[in-house]
Symmetry: C2
Subunit: 421 residues, 2 copies
């Protein structure tokens, strides 16, 4: 019997305790202590006999406890709990993407030093076994591409915008009402959540630490229904994609909305679902999809890591662990090559289209398509949308054109990568 302690007793923690009490996993694992912030709060989800404490050190000072489950979120308290537990010789299982993305290298170094394990399956895509697929099932091969829909809120918003032809603002209100978006949605819609997961997935794919703060990130806040509509008219669907690619030029990682061809496996992932597409030398492509969040799927991923420990199958990190590998330098968005979708605004007067086209032409960027939808009642000074797609070009070169456009004072541009194949 392995004795565990939980830091945090929210939905995921009580989901895990319910799993232990209702499945055969309870024969191998016993939860002894739960760390909470407010000891007086009623907690009907906690089973009888579990000790409640407000002293974090009760978790790692208890010789009976061999595993600490970290469910605090954030990176301050959680870092203290996880690093103290590892130093005290306890293995740790966590669902904390921020902590892993930011402090993975030092935490794996601590785990290695103290001969204990650090499980983080639950930190990326709740119920989808993406970490163990990358580190176990495919460990014989070299991963070339990981691309995923790893944030449920943004996928929910984009799906509803697409399927109901509703605006971003309308969908956001609905998503908040239904619990698919937080009251303050910024962390999700800006790509901040996705980029933590991108950092973790890229680290595993490339075999060395990828600092998520280096990953170019864009959110979906500036997308308009018009973008969704035009993308679909061209045969694409817009999805917020976290990607990591091994290219001839080097390692590339990115988070942002992308135009995916309708036949792309990620294009049909709907609503709050998550999915990750893996490509390796020997595998061609494999897709894993399902619920990416929620207390139950996340608890199940925690439990898989806990059962590894209870069965003596945990892995003390080796010197070759990806988080302990040499930090990976990314190409950065400037060097990336792609086709692009650009929505800009221009005054509705003669010569402007030629002027804009000339800016692209001078930089050697070939325009693949142009659309200037008719705006009823527009005058020569009305700013009207102009949507362009380019042939393959270098992002830095496109940025120069965009800077020139912005200098005209017509407003900001929306730029999305267009993915081929």
């Amino acid at each position: 019997m392995t004795t565990i302690a939980l830091a945090g007793a929210g939905n995921i923690g009580t989901g895990l305790l319910r799993l232990l009490s209702t499945t055969s996993a309870g024969k191998l694992l016993r939860a002894k202590t739960v760390l909470v912030r407010d000891p007086n709060k009623s907690r009907p989800g906690l089973p009888e006999g579990i000790a409640v404490t407000t002293q974090a050190s009760d978790l790692w000072n208890d010789p009976e406890v061999s595993v600490v489950v970290e469910l605090l979120g954030g990176v301050t308290d959680s870092l203290l709990v996880v690093s103290s537990a590892l130093k005290a010789g306890k293995s740790v299982v966590t669902a904390n993407k921020n902590l892993m993305a930011e402090h993975g290298p030092e935490l794996f170094a601590l785990a290695r030093k103290h001969g204990v394990c650090l499980g983080f399956e639950a930190s990326v895509c709740g119920g989808i076994p993406i970490i163990r697929t990358m580190t176990e099932a495919l460990r014989g091969d070299r991963l070339n591409t990981v691309e995923g829909i790893v944030n449920g809120t943004t996928n929910y918003l984009l799906t509803r915008m697409s399927e109901e032809r509703a605006t971003y603002a309308q969908c956001l209100v609905d998503a908040q009402r239904l619990g698919f978006a937080e009251p303050d949605p910024e962390y999700d819609v800006s790509g901040k959540d996705a980029v933590c997961k991108a950092g973790i997935l890229a680290t595993l794919a490339f075999g060395g630490y990828v600092d998520f703060r280096q990953v170019p990130t864009a959110g979906i806040e500036s997308l308009e229904l018009e973008d969704i509509r035009q993308a679909e008219a061209m045969g694409y669907r817009i999805k917020l994609i976290a990607s990591a690619r091994r290219t001839a030029a080097g390692f590339d990682a990115e988070v942002g909305p992308v135009l995916l061809p309708l036949a792309h496996p990620l294009a049909s992932i709907r609503m709050e679902d998550n999915a990750v597409l893996l490509e390796s030398d020997f595998l061609v492509k494999t897709l894993l999809s399902g619920k990416g969040a929620g207390p139950n799927p996340t608890a199940l991923s925690l439990l898989a890591d806990l059962l590894d420990l209870a069965e003596g199958r945990g892995r003390v990190p080796s010197a070759e662990h990806p988080f302990l590998g040499k930090a990976v330098e990314l190409l950065g968005s400037q060097a990336s090559q792609s086709r692009f979708y650009v929505r800009t605004k221009v005054p509705d007067r003669p010569g402007v289209l030629a002027q804009v086209a000339g800016l692209f032409g001078k930089k050697g960027i070939s325009i693949a398509s142009v659309l200037q939808p008719e705006v009823p009642g527009s005058t020569g000074e009305t700013l009207v949308p102009l949507i362009l797609t380019t042939h393959t070009t270098i992002r830095s070169r496109l940025n120069e054109v965009l800077a020139q456009l912005e200098a005209e004072g017509w407003g900001t541009n929306v730029v999305l990568r267009i993915q081929e194949d």
Copy 2:
């Protein structure tokens, strides 16, 4: 360093040897011997220094060899090799679905008795880590439903019929030419391949041996383009589905063509791809999809099992191993409840539709839709197709109606399950 021996040196075996020689897995695993049928055949895929033998006992009598990889196929030679190896204290890794589906219980009993491991990830859906997802990632939970597209040939045929409005016969010729169907396609198109995989997946889902010979099985040979067309007009796509379900009435398993709603995750799996959808108490739904066959994906799955052994992480089967559990009794198709699609043939004369409808009505089966497409130039005695869908009913009751229809001598009926949700 773990020394392995291969039984069989076909595409999968040479794929595995290539993986060992090109990736870091070669630091942990060394292939010493290959068993072949014809020692004189040129084998450019075999690396220097590997011994070639025609004596199967060379594999299990060699004290240096600790793992035998079985790639012979079939159930006669493979059974001898695998059971002899296990008895000699060698662990075994196999890609052989027939062997596992038919002899799993005795082979796991042997492995348990001799304290060795038996890895079979590669036996179902080549490059998709479905076995380890079911047995590792989700082992904390109870699996309720497994349904999959587990045969690439039939999915290829159904996709082309659907997308090109081509007949079964036309698509089959093309599939054979392109290598997606065998010269004798019977094993694939009849569902015999899929039902072996269904037996293995159902065993893992239910925690006790499911004999594939008890699983009701239908193929796709009698499907006509008309069925594909009508199903799609009604909002369904026809796929050959292997399923295992825990229902209130008991355990259910089945292989056959099914009408899936277009939004069902398996409905969009195209061409030779495979996919498996898992549903458990805590997980909601998770889908794994990718290449289900081919030397490279299959070799990668073999390698994952081999690395487990090389790293000392193989599992000697416990007494609770699903293949060692009490044999599962299936409900059988007669008791299953569903909506059904029926294509029959009737003479094109007055009163026949009322007669057919009466047969259904008398058995208490409610008809949901009827279609009798116009057949140009038909006379009163021409047999014309009549397509019906039913509301939910019991299969045995429907079979009574179908028997009465067949007694009229109008020809055989095609019956497919319609899946809701």
